[in-house]
Amino acid sequence: MDHEVFDKAELLSRLEGDEEILAEMIGIFLAECGPMVQHVSDAATSQDAGGLERSAHKLKGSLSIFGSRAAMQSAQILETMGHDGDLCSAAEVLARLREQIAALEKALSDLREPKCPKS
């Protein structure tokens, strides 16, 4: 697994190895992630700098829990853009962020539903 996407071992060590909490967190994140990205996207589309700063900050917080460094970095860039009121290249960063989050969602989903071992 790409540790830039999700570092399970690191997260589990921070959770004192509690797989139950991890499973619950993944469930909540997968449910909340879509709407969170949508808020970021809406703010970027409508050139709402304050909204972009807040929504990207919140998304960054969630991503930080899973240690998704690349996605966190993109969210941080969007947050800074919102803070500075310079949204020129927001669409480009947002597209990158969507890909990174899609990779994270896939990694987390795989973790929840492990593939059957080959016989």
Partner: protein, 326 residues
């Protein structure tokens, strides 16, 4: 089980915090915005430990802490600020706003646990300090034997009532109560019995007073009763009820029934008795008169009739009651 409030709009973070805290034996209460956090923390039985996310909808974590500190609640709330801000200036701002500690996201479970333990230790110290202060304040204002106000506290209360009387014009009466032949009670039955008499007398005095009257032990076997919004005539009635009540029923101390009587001197603030010192002096001289006239009596100080104005009706009737009471 210690309650901890978690305020974070990120539900994943809430699951993480709530799960860990529950595992560590805390009772986690979760809210998702600053307004709800403040409302919960202002409740009387609110959690004393709070983990607040910095950026939240409505009030942010900093504003919650500022409002909490400004409210000066009865109990201290240990506030741990959770933040993904990384600038030193931000953290300084957070701590200056009144946060006790902070933790950067993503946090480590062991570190959070240790920081919560610090919070618990601080809160325990605060609880012990408040308890010691309350105990010291109680000891400074209460008589150790009877549990009622001591001399300083009851005099202070009279001073407050006197200034209120000056502002609002209502009357304030005082009664000075002294146990007759207390020395011989001590000599005959012992000092422990004397102490018991003081305690039982305190209960009897309290039983004839209204909730807003106050009684204190001046020392030895002498008590002072302050009755706000009470005329001299009404105070004489109370004093007489007290005197007759004490005299009519012996005090049972262990196996013995001790006959106890009291003498009472009554006075009231008025144009002629305008201040605390004077009202205490006159109540004391009325008490002296009661002792001199044979004890087990109520006497009051009646201000002399001023030649320039007609005698007041209340002063005349008070004089009549004083005579009847004797």
């Amino acid at each position: 089980m210690s309650k901890v409030l978690i305020a974070d709009d990120d539900r994943t973070s809430c699951i993480l915090l709530g799960g860990l805290l529950t595992k560590w034996g805390y009772q986690a209460e979760i809210v998702h915005n600053g307004d709800d956090a403040l409302r919960e923390l202002m409740k009387p039985d609110a959690p004393r430990l709070a983990i607040l996310d910095w950026m939240m909808p409505g009030l942010d974590g900093i504003e919650v802490i500022k409002k909490l500190r400004a409210a000066h609640g009865a109990s201290y709330t240990y506030a741990l600020l959770l933040t993904s801000k990384e600038q030193k200036e931000d953290l300084v701002q957070g701590l200056d706003a009144g946060a006790d500690d902070y933790l950067r996201k993503p946090f480590d479970a062991q570190e959070l646990r240790a920081r919560l333990r610090i919070g618990g230790r601080i809160l325990e110290l605060e609880r012990r300090l408040v308890s010691a202060l309350e105990s010291a304040e109680y000891k400074a204002t209460h008589d150790f034997l009877s549990g009622i106000y001591n001399r300083a506290a009851i005099t202070e209360m009279l001073t407050r009532e006197a200034s209120r009387s000056e502002r609002c014009g209502h009357r304030v009466s005082v009664m000075m109560v002294d146990v007759d032949h207390f020395k011989s009670i001590n000599d005959t039955y012992g000092h422990a019995a004397g102490d018991e008499v003081i305690k039982q007398l305190t209960a009897r005095i309290s039983s004839v007073l209204r909730t807003y009257d106050a009684v204190g032990r001046l020392g030895g076997e002498e008590f002072l009763i302050v009755t706000p919004n009470c005329s001299l005539g009404e105070a004489l009635g109370v004093a007489e009820r007290l005197r007759s009540g004490v005299a009519s029923e012996k005090m049972i101390v262990g196996e013995v029934a001790i006959p106890v009587t009291v003498s009472v001197g009554v006075s009231a603030l008025s144009v002629d008795i305008p201040d605390v010192n004077r009202v205490l002096e006159t109540a004391d001289s009325a008490l002296y008169a009661a002792k001199k006239s044979g004890r087990n009596r109520v006497e009051c100080y009646v201000p002399p009739v001023r030649p320039t104005s007609p005698p007041e009706a209340s002063a005349t009737s008070v004089g009549a009651i004083a005579k009847a009471a004797g």
